[in-house]
């Protein structure tokens, strides 16, 4: 996209007082003696994809579940669209690492299940579900059962279910970790298309540096013991140059190296 000088200056100014969809303020969480999160604060700009990146055990899932309202934090609060979170709500939808599909239900019922729980009438929710089944590329599999699908297809079902409830914040917990590398790359493209088209806020947990740099508008680098936000990185990758060129572009590789340098001490 070509912007005039004034337009881009205007956009920068706007991003300073950015519209924040989700704000994590001073959140701590202990599991018994384990300090999973300590006084964490982090903002998630609306309409963007923010990755939570860090080694396993640093509290990414815990933070995501607290934002989802599935876990209570010990201190601090979560603000979503200006209102504090007290539990799960229709403005957030979760995509699970292990898909969390109902094994006894068809793809159609699984995708519509979020709407079913919200009391939407059958014909209406199936219309909506059909649209998202189509969007994630599963048209023709409406009647299939999860055990008949590959890992990648199952995660598409999980994604379609989260999209169909039309929440404006999507929480994705390592959604691609159980799928093979080819499928994963395809997923990343699809995810970027979603971010561009859906005007939703994506909070995306990953432990892959490349994936985070490739997909994110903003990366929150988390480090363990005690878990905290070590660094916020905005990759600003120019996606117009094409998939293959991005993965070879110097700025892409520089950011990957920079993150790796920060993490190395903790991995070794």
């Amino acid at each position: 996209m070509v912007m005039s000088q004034t337009e881009s200056a205007f956009a920068d100014a706007q991003s300073l007082e950015q519209d924040i969809a989700v704000s994590v303020q001073g959140v701590s969480k202990n599991y018994g003696a384990v300090e999973a999160l300590k006084n964490m604060s982090l903002d998630f700009p609306r309409g963007q994809l923010t990755s939570l990146l860090g080694p396993s055990g640093c509290g990414k899932t815990t933070l995501l579940k607290i934002i989802a309202g599935l876990l209570k934090s010990d201190t601090g609060k979560i603000i979503v669209n200006g209102k504090p979170v007290t539990g799960p709500g229709p403005n957030r939808a979760f995509v699970f690492q292990d898909f969390a599909l109902l094994p006894w239900a068809s793809v159609m019922r699984n995708v519509a299940f979020g709407l079913e729980l919200r009391g939407v009438a059958k014909s209406e929710r199936e219309d909506k579900a059909a649209k998202y089944i189509n969007d994630v590329g599963l048209a023709g599999f409406e009647g299939a059962y999860p055990h008949e699908l590959s890992g990648g297809m199952r995660q598409r079902v999980g994604l379609a279910r989260a999209l169909s409830v039309d929440a404006n914040v999507l929480l994705l917990d390592e959604p691609f970790s159980a799928v093979d590398e080819q499928t994963r790359r395809k997923f990343q493209e699809d995810l970027l298309a979603l971010v561009a088209n859906e005007n939703k806020t994506f909070i995306f947990v990953t432990h892959s540096i490349e994936e985070a740099v490739y997909c994110s508008d903003q990366i929150a680098l988390l480090l363990p013991r005690p878990s905290r936000v070590h660094e916020i990185i905005r990759p600003n990758i120019n996606r117009a140059i094409g998939v293959e060129s991005i993965r070879r572009a110097p700025e892409y590789l520089d950011i990957v190296d920079q993150i790796w340098a920060s993490l190395r001490a903790y991995v070794e």
Binding site: K65, A68, G69, L70, P88, G89, P90, R92, A93, F94, F96, Q97, D98, A100, L102, P103, W104, F113, G114, E116, L117, R118, Y145, P146, H147, V165
Partner: protein, 250 residues
């Protein structure tokens, strides 16, 4: 079953035992074991008689009543125990005691509490079947994938929805297994009830035949009972296999 590389039809072991029974009976070793053929002749003679249909009806009512309560009380209790730590700690010791207790010894107490009629027999039947249903349901609920529970919570499931749309179905393979064993135990319960509480139904027939040494009658009724229990158990086994496709992938 296989014999020298040939697959024998299902239940061919029954044929072998039947043959052995017939031979033992023909040898007239003991009055207790009349030939199987004689038992079947008796069976076809009594099966249409009013005494038999009445007994079948009385037994069926008590049995179905007892099984009904064992299921509709047992499954929810099992689900609650699987979901609620406090309830579980309160109830589990009792369930474990009763699942292996000699319940027959309790029947006289039930008679004092609930009288000598159908009510006591139904309660006896329920007591025989319910504990294993509770234990299996509880086990089924406890192994539900945590993320299924989180998924339903995150989409705003009410407790009732979570109960009927997730927990029940996720635990269904174990529940059906429990119901199958519970039903077989309930057969035992209904006969013991009929023998001890009031002499009605098949219990009365057993009592009558045994005390008059009508062994082929006795065995004939026992075979009918076995066939009924076997049919129900096979049907539940069939339902179990129908849900087994997801039992492995929960």
């Amino acid at each position: 079953m296989w014999f020298k590389g040939y697959k024998l039809p299902n239940m061919s072991s029954l044929l072998i035992w039947g043959l052995l029974w017939e031979i033992t009976g023909q040898l007239e070793l003991t009055f207790f074991v009349p030939p199987l053929s004689e038992v079947f002749v008796t069976l076809f003679n009594i099966i249409g008689t009013p005494a038999f249909t009445k007994a079948l009806y009385e037994t069926a009512v008590a049995f179905l009543g007892g099984v009904f309560f064992a299921i509709v009380i047992g499954i929810p209790i099992g689900i609650f125990m699987g979901r609620n730590r406090l309830l579980d700690e309160l109830l589990l010791p009792w369930v474990n005691i009763f699942v292996s207790a000699p319940l027959t010894a309790l029947v006289p107490v039930l008679m004092v509490l609930f009288g000598f009629g159908l009510k006591s027999i139904i309660i006896t039947t329920t007591l025989f079947g319910i504990w294993i249903i509770i234990l299996n349901t509880r086990a089924g609920v406890r192994q539900i994938n945590r993320s299924l529970i989180e998924m339903s919570t995150s989409f705003g499931a009410s407790p009732m929805d979570a109960f009927t749309k997730v927990y029940f179905w996720a635990a269904l393979p174990e529940i059906l297994g429990g119901v199958r064993i519970g039903v077989i135990r309930a057969v035992k319960g209904v006969i013991i009830g009929q023998l001890l509480i009031s002499i009605v139904g098949f219990g009365a027939l057993f009592e009558l035949y045994a005390s008059n040494f009508l062994m082929s009658h006795f065995w004939a009724v026992l075979i009918v009972l076995f066939a009924l229990a076997f049919t129900i158990s096979e049907f539940l086994g069939y339902l179990e296999r129908k849900v087994s496709y997801y039992a492995a992938s929960r």
